[in-house]
């Protein structure tokens, strides 16, 4: 996918903003995260006969202004699930390789971590997380991440923003080098959480236009 260069991403923070109409989107195919990679026997046993990760695709688009990048996701969701009380929230994540060549499906490894921003419909919050494998994630340094989300007519739209510069645990994004991005979607109504989700099967190229 491409990230268009705009003067200021300020007009793009709201996923419903008209500005997004002129930004071409990329359709990303999604698949259920493989059952065999789930970290515990219990999770495998309890989900082997149960469908999950059924979001077939999402529409991703992006703009940047040289300092910050905004990434908008748009996917079908019959009804919004905020996960209030004891429910599980709808959620989405964008992932970036930090160093080495991490496997997206495996959520990276010790030497090749994956950094991701996760939005959860509960309290509409975003978290910056560093993963070194499935079930192995810790809070990552903040990169001034923000999120805004809205649901209407059977679709969630979510805009993540972050600084383009990185840290030792967050990859930097710039027009000079090609980057990669991965996606995950959790359907709260189906009790999806942790590794029970829809994922993009491989890294997508993320090309920042100069």
């Amino acid at each position: 996918m491409q990230s268009l260069n705009v003067a200021n991403i300020g007009g793009y923070l709201d996923p419903a903003s008209g500005e997004w109409r002129d930004v071409p989107g990329t359709t990303v195919e999604m698949v259920p995260a493989p059952l065999g990679l789930q970290p515990t026997d219990y999770i495998i046993a309890s989900w082997q006969d149960r469908p999950y990760g059924e979001v077939e695709s999402l529409l991703a688009s992006s703009v940047h202004d040289g300092n910050r990048i905004a990434i908008r996701l748009d996917w079908a969701s019959a009804r919004p699930n905020t996960g209030a009380g004891e429910g599980f929230p709808d959620a989405a994540a964008i992932a970036f390789p930090v160093r080495g060549e991490p496997e997206l499906m495996q959520m990276g490894s010790e030497d090749a971590p994956v950094h991701f921003l996760q939005w959860m419909a509960r309290k509409n919050m975003v978290r910056s997380v560093l993963a070194t494998g499935i079930g192995l994630s810790v809070t990552a340094p903040s990169i001034a991440e923000t999120v805004a989300a809205g649901w209407s007519s059977g679709r969630w739209t979510v805009v993540f923003t972050r600084e383009m510069s990185g840290t030792s645990d967050v990859s930097s994004l710039s027009p000079e080098k090609n980057s990669q991005i991965g996606f995950a979607i959790w359907n709260g109504a189906n009790e999806e959480r942790a590794g029970i989700k829809a994922v993009s099967p491989a890294w997508e190229d993320l090309i920042l236009r100069a």
Binding site: T40, D41, Y42, A45, S46, E86, G135
Partner: protein
């Protein structure tokens, strides 16, 4: 498996269903925010639906060593918490005000089916069954967690949830076949019985054991040959785990209830099998037969005036003998801790 294992034996012949243990636990551990509907200790009437409602049909645990899917218990199945109208009923001066729940009429809660039991008059029957987390040797909760947030302490086998690691995924709640884990919607984490860890570490018995007026709950290490647990579980083999078929190897054991006599049509006592043995087998496994026979035989011995170590342990004339190494008095420990803090 841990190097040492704390354990509890609960004598169902002595439990009077007073819920003192439940309240002791509630007061000590679950009076915080988001814990209103939490009961780390419950006492239910058996036969009955228990807490959460129909928990025995919710799956989880293992079969032939394989993890079994379980159902996620809902708050309504534990019972939504409610407040009582104490103010109105007790202090308003209104003679007609009666004590009751505020707001919507609840239709389920812990101990909801108290004293209902089963059987036909005059041969109806029930008994009380206190439950806590079993601090299992093979904890299904721990094995289910994708984040490794649940661990079993090596020094005493207590199973704990690290709430800093827990993300509220609740696979543990589904996987625990005893449904002994609760979800705190305020903290977004799973919480459960901690076997009174801070007390036990200071040699003080668990709150439920110490507060029990019926001297029902024995404590100790499973391998302590001089303690009551070893004697009841391993030596006399009368204390049995609940639902051993769940394969988590619980460390809470029960002395099965002996039944009062059944009556015939004329009201004459005919046998002492009022509680169907098949029901007890469904709870404690086939070993329950030997356990009951053994306790009966030892009772007979005492009737004949002969000594019985088993009866002496079960009667527990000396209260503190029930608690193995956990005989310190809380007030003494509090004093020592204060002194230590003062340096």
């Amino acid at each position: 498996m841990s190097s040492k294992q704390v354990a509890m034996v609960i004598d169902l012949n002595k439990c009077i269903g007073c819920q003192t243990c439940t309240v002791a636990c509630k007061t000590q551990w679950t009076s915080g925010e988001g814990q209103e509907g939490m009961w780390w200790n419950t006492v239910a009437t058996a036969p009955g639906k228990g807490t959460p409602k129909n928990w025995e049909n919710m799956g989880g645990g293992f079969r032939n060593g394989k993890a079994q899917p379980g159902k996620l218990p809902k708050q309504t199945e534990f019972g939504d918490p409610w407040e009582f109208n104490f103010e109105e009923a007790l202090f308003s001066g209104d003679q007609h005000a009666t004590l009751g729940p505020v707001g919507e009429e609840p239709d389920w809660g812990t101990n909801w089916d108290e004293d209902i039991g089963a059987g036909e008059y005059p041969n109806s029957y029930f008994f009380y069954i206190p439950r806590i987390c079993n601090h299992c040797t093979k904890p299904a909760c721990m094995e289910a967690c994708p984040r490794g947030a649940i661990f079993k302490r090596d020094e005493d086998g207590i199973v704990l949830i690290n709430e800093d690691h827990c993300r509220g995924f609740r696979f543990c709640q589904e996987a625990c076949p005893y449904k002994e884990i609760y979800y705190n919607t305020v903290s977004g984490t799973a919480q459960k019985c901690i076997f009174c860890l801070p007390r036990v570490e200071e040699g003080v018995a668990t709150a439920c054991s110490r507060q029990c007026p019926g001297r029902v709950r024995f404590l100790g290490f499973l391998d302590d040959k001089d303690g009551p647990i070893y004697k009841l579980v391993h030596e006399h083999k009368v204390a049995l785990p609940l639902h051993p078929e769940y394969e988590t190897q619980p460390n809470v054991f029960y002395i099965p209830p002996l039944a009062p006599p059944s009556f015939d049509d004329e009201g004459n006592p005919v046998d002492d099998k009022r509680i169907p043995i098949d029901y007890l087998i469904s709870l404690f496994g086939p070993e329950v037969r030997q356990s009951i026979e053994k306790i009966k035989a030892e009772r007979e011995k005492r009737k004949r005036g002969e000594p019985s170590e088993l009866m002496d342990v079960l009667i527990s004339r000396n209260w503190l003998d029930m608690f193995g190494p956990f005989t310190n008095q809380p007030q003494d420990v509090a004093k020592t801790l204060e002194e230590r803090a003062r340096g």
